[in-house]
Symmetry: D3
Subunit: 255 residues, 6 copies
């Protein structure tokens, strides 16, 4: 049975809403360069894949992905100068987040999980959630969990994925974690023969505007993607989605 809200008729969706415990997940991605080996849609694809895997575990539903995200930053996504990176203004992202949450609340959704797969989205999603909560008022029963999926990686998983030591999430753009997850979920979209293997980017503790494009590796990948594998992806996917499902059960079954 589908977990996609968009595949249900309104009648079927309404039936699912009779269950007060129903959890709706909203994947939030981006259209952003991910090196020569991963597709532009990586963040949208991964947030959707993880949301669907979690939905299967918690008998939830997944709303259509927000496919466009906030502007790519040099230190986390390579920056806005790459062709293909297609970003929204902060206000636009906050507004569509606010709008759809307001609608879900009107439907009677009580448990919403915003599954972010694009680092730069976080604060504008947070603002959109806040604007929606303000509009809904304090008596609305809607509760929202917002998460960046990689934050659920356990130490143990990271040790397994990075046997030589985890370099930190900061430079993980289009690198081992995303490459492994893509190899697991969408192997046909990974160009393994294009895998870049260069030393990691080295950024100073500040940002410059206009962007210093020379700080960013020409590949758009911030650290080596070598070492990524479908097996690692499968392992991470299983652990992350199990942990998210557990968090959902913990938070949303509270009376």
């Amino acid at each position: 049975m589908t977990v996609l809200m968009s595949s249900l008729s309104w009648v079927a969706y309404q039936e699912r809403l009779q269950d007060d415990g129903l959890v709706l997940l909203l994947p939030c991605g981006a259209l952003e360069q991910h090196g020569p080996h991963l597709p532009l849609g990586t963040d949208a694809l991964l947030s959707a894949a993880i949301a669907q895997a979690v939905a299967t575990k918690v008998h939830g539903l997944v709303a259509p992905t927000l496919s466009y995200g906030y502007k790519s930053q040099p230190k986390s996504g390579g920056g806005q100068h790459f062709p293909g990176t297609t970003s929204l203004d902060g206000q636009s992202l906050s507004q569509i987040t606010r709008d759809v949450i307001r609608e879900f609340a009107r439907h009677g959704v009580k448990n919403l999980v915003v599954v972010d797969g694009h680092y730069e989205n976080q604060w504008f999603l947070t603002e959109g959630i806040d604007l929606a909560m303000r509009a809904l008022g304090t008596t609305n029963p809607l509760r929202i969990m917002r998460l960046e999926y990689w934050d659920f990686c356990t130490e143990e998983t990271l040790k397994h994925v990075f046997p030589d030591g985890f370099p930190g999430f900061a430079l993980e753009h289009a690198a081992v974690i995303e490459t492994s997850l893509m190899l697991h979920f969408y192997p046909e979209l990974v160009a393994l023969d294009q895998l870049p293997d260069h030393s990691p980017a080295d950024f100073p503790p500040y940002d410059m505007y206009p962007t210093r494009t020379e700080w960013v590796p020409p590949s758009g990948v911030l650290s080596s993607a070598k070492g990524g594998s479908a097996a690692k992806g499968a392992m991470m996917a299983e652990q992350i989605t199990a942990s998210i499902a557990a968090a959902i059960s913990h938070e949303f079954s509270r009376s």
Copy 2:
């Protein structure tokens, strides 16, 4: 080879952009009730399917679909009171349209087709396009075609689809045309056993706010979907996409 921009790496996308004649298509849908037999994502699914079929014909690319659209109106989409219908404020839709067009122009896209599959989107897409064109200035080479795909149906096609006479697009929400196209493109998402068959809605020549929900058939379908078939869908899809492809060739090959 994929026509999906989101499946390309930025390097592959950049290569495609070397061709000044490259056409990018942006499908615009909605998450909106479509009766008991069609899924909530119908407009997004159909605009994407048609954009992809056209892209194949014109060797173009398809950007990620705008999955959420403007507010459903009683006379064209049943109205905002149905669960599942999840809409954006007009300003939000115009802004994301403006934002992504501005980005496509930065990439160097010169030929963009906005493929609208949700009637209510039209004016806010138009405004978003206008805001983008203003921001880009008069010297930018980007040219945009905006279309609602059903407007490409020829008289001949309509005669074939409606042997007893075409009742007009006005009441075609979730009725014969959309049902047939869904049966063609996504047969697994159509619940043929739920097909409503009631007399068409009869609206007065004005609108009332708050919505007079009693004007709208409880099914959400504005006229009978009986008579829809995969064969009719295939025929319409072929004619419409061929006509759109011809229009694209006509407009965008002008020097």
Copy 3:
């Protein structure tokens, strides 16, 4: 006795509001080219004239006209490239609509009719009404009717006005209907000797941006205005305003 709200003192207006059945009409026009024979203010003038005629019939009041409207489109108004056409951004039009409705509700108005005389306004008026209704909340007694006046033309009237067959509203910009109504309501503003008589514009089923100005007849008139007459205008005005008055009685006298 005047039907113009702007001609009443606040004391007189307050007295009128004691009647819960009082209907307030808000005409919405534009400043837009209407060919060489009709004035730029045609849409504002006609929506005001019709609103006043209706107000007389239903003992209502008419608020000051929104004199500037949304951007003119090539297929319905000739487009933004004509001198004189003076349009608002979509958000601006929606906001002033929202603002004045919120104020009318504060006064205690319970029955409002938004009388649109400019085709391009429809969706931004709709959005403004929706924003106002949201701000007012679900307990506010205000009910609103929104209409484009020409939609009240009966088949019978159209047959009379177009003895050779009605070409459809699509190309009626500055053509027989508007010319006739102007000859009826404001004969001194019509330059009959400038009446264009060319074959109707022929538009493809899509729009292009920047505007393909060569699609639009240089006169700005989309189909021939020949055949317009004051007598036809009088007949249409009488039928339309009677029908609107009847609709108002029907909708607003419901308890």
Copy 4:
């Protein structure tokens, strides 16, 4: 010959624009209580009347009036608690001002006069003008004069109108000046038998929110309107419009 832009066809308007010295005037009013003797539309009516009189003198044109203005303040307009007062948010007023100015500049207008007849409008008109000028850039030839018409009253005129001493513009809302001008321009809209004659309002040097409605005379008139007359109105109208015309000649004939 008409001075109303809305009464001209686009062709006639275009002809007028061939003259680089053409002056366009934009009246800005309000819908606001003006005591029991003056109509709600007073500010719109007077700014339009004065703009037209000036246009006649300088062979200019008058654009449609902005009929709704910024929120009425207790000390200058009585405040927002009166029925009939129908105001815009500040941002809305600034945006429509910006929008129409941008359009006039597109037409080729080089000399624009914003004729304000509602005290509370001033700053939001100023902001709208600034937003338009920023959008137009520094090379656009458009020059704008913004004025509140009463500021052109000379000392001599004031002495004549107030033989016992001018109490200041601060309390002149719906009092001698506006009453006299309305008696001159629109005598049929003045209810002389309702003329209030009470001592002037006495405001402290601060404002309170929510409005202290008890500070405002129940009539809505801030000082006595006794002493107003059509003759005084005629005299003021003549002096003010002559002075504005002289200022226009002075400013806009500079090369």
Copy 5:
């Protein structure tokens, strides 16, 4: 004991809020040229100094100053062409005013005084207050006083400060009043040797855009600052703050 809210811990602030009569003052300034002898921060510095002096008298607290204000106008602040003048768009100023008031209300503040020290701020502060009051709804107990501090100058004080006659507040930008108050509150920031002494600016009864910079004295001072002294500043400061304190007691001790 400090009157600065920013110097209190949240625990100490919370204790102060137990007193329903607590008055919070919000100073609103600007960063704007004030001639060659006064610093750019004059309006922020003076509104803060006066707010603190008043707070001491009424046992109130002072929130952090809004240090940037609305755009400087030629007739009141010299205009936007001076280096150093750093202004906000009107909407920006209204929004931050709305935001902080909404927050103060959430804290439980019941008595707020907005102390404006920059003439151009007034209307955008007013709009911000109105937007906040609308958001808070009619049941919120927050009451707000908004004032421009110079309006509390009594006739007697003005006679003392201007023994040769008060030229009016209109041209008092960076002139005797502000110079005297700065000499009293911040003598180290006044460059007495740079004091300009030229004849006052003479403005026509209208404004021009783009700004006629030739109307404004090159010094940026609109009338002579000669005659300013610390003693006059002390006297004005004492009278003004005592009057504001009295107004606060009068307004906020009402049950």
Copy 6:
């Protein structure tokens, strides 16, 4: 000599601008709970103190602090439920950032450093900077550095400050770093006797809305502030400001 822009006259500021290498620093803070021992203004005070220390080193100027910041988050600032925390909407913060940058560019500033002292500000400052850069266009010479000052702490400094191991910046709200810096810069504002010493907060890898206030220590401090000292503050301040000054020299002296 002062480094405060607000203490300079426009003439003195203009002189400083003759030096193309002049660096302007804009401190960005917040009004936010910082436990029972630190004042609400901590972030504004520290960003200003650091900006001034850096300005002294690089012969730069410091613009007035943005005293109000983005909404406090539970995991970094305790959350919005504390009295005293006074935050702006994201759009408001982005807009004032955009506005003042646009003005600095108009003055001729070529080197701007945005010194952020409030973690939650980062993304809305980034957006404001981007909006300003877009408005200024690609030819404007303004270059901007944005930094969060704590990111300049070296490993060596952290070792010295946390001899038992650095717990990470995540929980450093109102803890050892900020307490030490406040003891160095503003000792009179620290209530050492109120220093909380409890175990650090323990947050799950997601956020919940409405805020789970039970996750946040009642003190508002996220980890122990014990171990903070003025000496450590002095050491950190010296190292951080020296490092920032070096970065400025490195970036802004490039031709």
